[in-house]
């Protein structure tokens, strides 16, 4: 046990893990965060709390994660390297673990020019692989970058994001290997819509035996409408949505239901795939549907472990 988190126990037991997503508000309404979080209770093993997603100013992921802990829910606190240098990042790892955070998800983040602070001085002191390496060293050696020690222990499960749909395609498996070597315990993928490409990628992952070295959770997003599918395809970096999915959404008389059906079908397929250890359900501000999706996909009840 590295972190003693619930998510870690689920994974170590070889159970199929489920994580949800909570996007902190563009504001400081703690009640709103709690309300959204309540919708996920019992349906997921842990909740990803995003870090100024899409480079928009929101409530900090550490604060929102802390609110979740107060409710007895387990956060996966996301941290991006975009906004903080290594001093702030390491300080936040110490601070968040002091508040009870046991799962971190470390990533680069979307570029500031895509958000609402385009004039910010973008940081990118470390890249995500370097931050993963840094977190692992804090956990395993009790040292910060540069080699100095600190008081206490950092018990964290380290997560990373991989995108099987970005280019250059062949590099995507190398990137996963680098993140594992650097210290990732689990990875979540960008949302899977293009199942063929995902399968091809998983084949490459298995060829290198990487699925034996890391817990891979496949990302899924329930679509609400054809417009949302189109927006994800053209407006969100790193996401591909194939024509057949767009077509199904466009033809559906109840697009929201169709979106959930597609999502459930994807989860069922992913559950059977060798090397997939869980799903990350990214509801994108549609938390009330997480339970329904988990139910329909046969993911309930979630295990209760001590």
């Amino acid at each position: 046990m590295r972190a003693g988190s619930h998510l870690e126990r689920v994974m170590e037991k070889g159970l199929f893990a489920v994580t949800g997503q909570l996007i902190p508000p563009k504001g400081n309404d703690a009640g709103g965060v709690k309300k959204k979080a309540e919708l996920l209770r019992g349906y997921v093993d842990a909740v990803n709390v995003t870090d100024n997603q899409r480079a928009m100013v929101r409530m900090s992921s550490m604060a929102a994660s802390s609110l979740l802990i107060g409710m007895g829910l387990e956060p996966v606190m996301q941290m991006v390297t975009r906004d903080r240098n290594r001093i702030a990042l390491q300080s936040d790892i110490l601070g968040s673990t002091a508040l009870g955070v046991k799962n971190l998800l470390l990533l680069t983040g979307d570029h500031p020019c895509l958000g609402n602070q385009v004039d910010s001085k973008n940081v990118h002191d470390l890249d995500s692989v370097q931050l993963i390496d840094c977190a692992r060293r804090m956990r395993e050696e009790g040292k910060i970058l540069g080699g100095e020690g600190f008081a206490g222990e950092v018990g964290i499960l380290i997560g990373a994001v991989v995108n099987p749909f970005g280019d250059p395609f062949e590099f995507r498996v190398v990137r996963l290997a680098k993140k594992i070597d650097a210290g990732a315990d689990f990875v979540q993928t960008q949302p899977v819509f293009d199942m063929n490409r995902f399968k091809e990628w998983m084949g490459m992952v298995r060829d290198r035996g990487l699925h034996e070295r890391v817990h891979i959770m496949a990302g899924v997003v329930p679509l609400k409408s054809a417009a949302m599918a189109e927006f994800l395809r053209s407006g969100v970096p790193g996401i591909t949505v194939p024509d057949n999915v767009i077509g199904r959404m466009a033809k559906a008389s109840e697009p929201a239901e169709e979106g959930i059906r597609i999502c459930v079908e994807q989860i069922e397929e992913l559950k059977e795939m060798e090397g997939i250890h869980g799903v990350h359900i990214m509801t994108v501000d549609w938390e009330e549907k997480a339970g329904q999706i988990a139910e329909m996909a046969g993911l309930l009840p979630r295990p209760v472990l001590w």
Binding site: C113, N122, D125, C134, V162
Partner: protein, 223 residues
């Protein structure tokens, strides 16, 4: 070389409001190569400024000079004779040149006439693109001779972010993804194994621009 572009004429005019006699100094080094501050630009800018002031019914006397290289003390010294009765100096060299004048002529206000942009290369006449940020510890040996510090929007050193698609960067549909270019080049040169190497955190604070001015001392050349 260093690339610069002229500031808007209105901004420059604003600097000069209070003056009747100025010295305009160009530079025949980088600023001339990128057509921002050479002899020709000195002449054009001087004419433009005179005309603009004339329209306002005010005279502006402009002495024109172009230094071979405004970043070298001996050439800056050579301007000493030209500053008599000059109320201000306008320099259209890069920021280094402007500061060299400000350091040398401590009694005279010095204004920049160009925005110093970056170190880059000429793509075609009239098009320049950044290629190096002088990060102080070059990694081009790891990246196929393509600079991720300058050309990747996130300065990633360990491979592309998730936003790289069809060879373009996530920031817009036009900027090439540096890591796609690095990948292609390493593939073409049979060096793809380099991508597997972990590149540790960079020492920006020691090697880069974040610590006040960096200094190189070559003892063998020092007098």
């Amino acid at each position: 070389m260093i690339k610069a572009e002229q500031k808007p004429v209105d901004e420059i005019l604003g600097f000069l409001d209070a003056y009747k006699r100025i010295l305009l100094v160009g530079c025949n080094g980088c600023a001339a190569v990128c057509h921002a501050g050479g002899e020709r630009e000195v002449a054009i800018l001087a004419a433009t400024l005179r005309m603009a002031r004339k329209k306002l019914g005010q005279k502006l006397e402009i002495l024109e000079e172009t230094s071979p290289r405004q970043c070298e003390p001996e050439f800056v010294d050579a301007l000493a004779g030209k500053t008599e009765d000059v109320e201000a100096i306008l320099s259209i060299a890069c920021g280094v040149g402007v500061q060299a004048l400000a350091e040398r002529f401590s009694e005279i206000p010095v204004y920049p006439g160009v925005n110093t942009m970056f170190m880059g290369k000429t793509v075609e006449p009239g098009v320049w693109v950044e290629r190096c940020q002088a990060c102080g510890n070059c990694v081009l040996h790891l990246t196929g001779g393509i600079c991720p510090v300058t050309r990747c929007a996130k300065q990633l050193l360990n491979g592309p972010c998730g936003g790289s698609r069809d060879g373009v960067c996530e920031i817009d549909g036009e900027t090439p993804c540096a890591w796609q270019a690095i990948y292609d080049r390493l593939k073409a040169t049979g060096q793809l194994d380099r991508l597997e190497l972990f590149v540790p955190a960079k020492r920006w604070g020691r090697e880069s621009r974040d610590r006040g001015p960096r200094t190189i001392v070559r003892g063998d050349l020092k007098q």
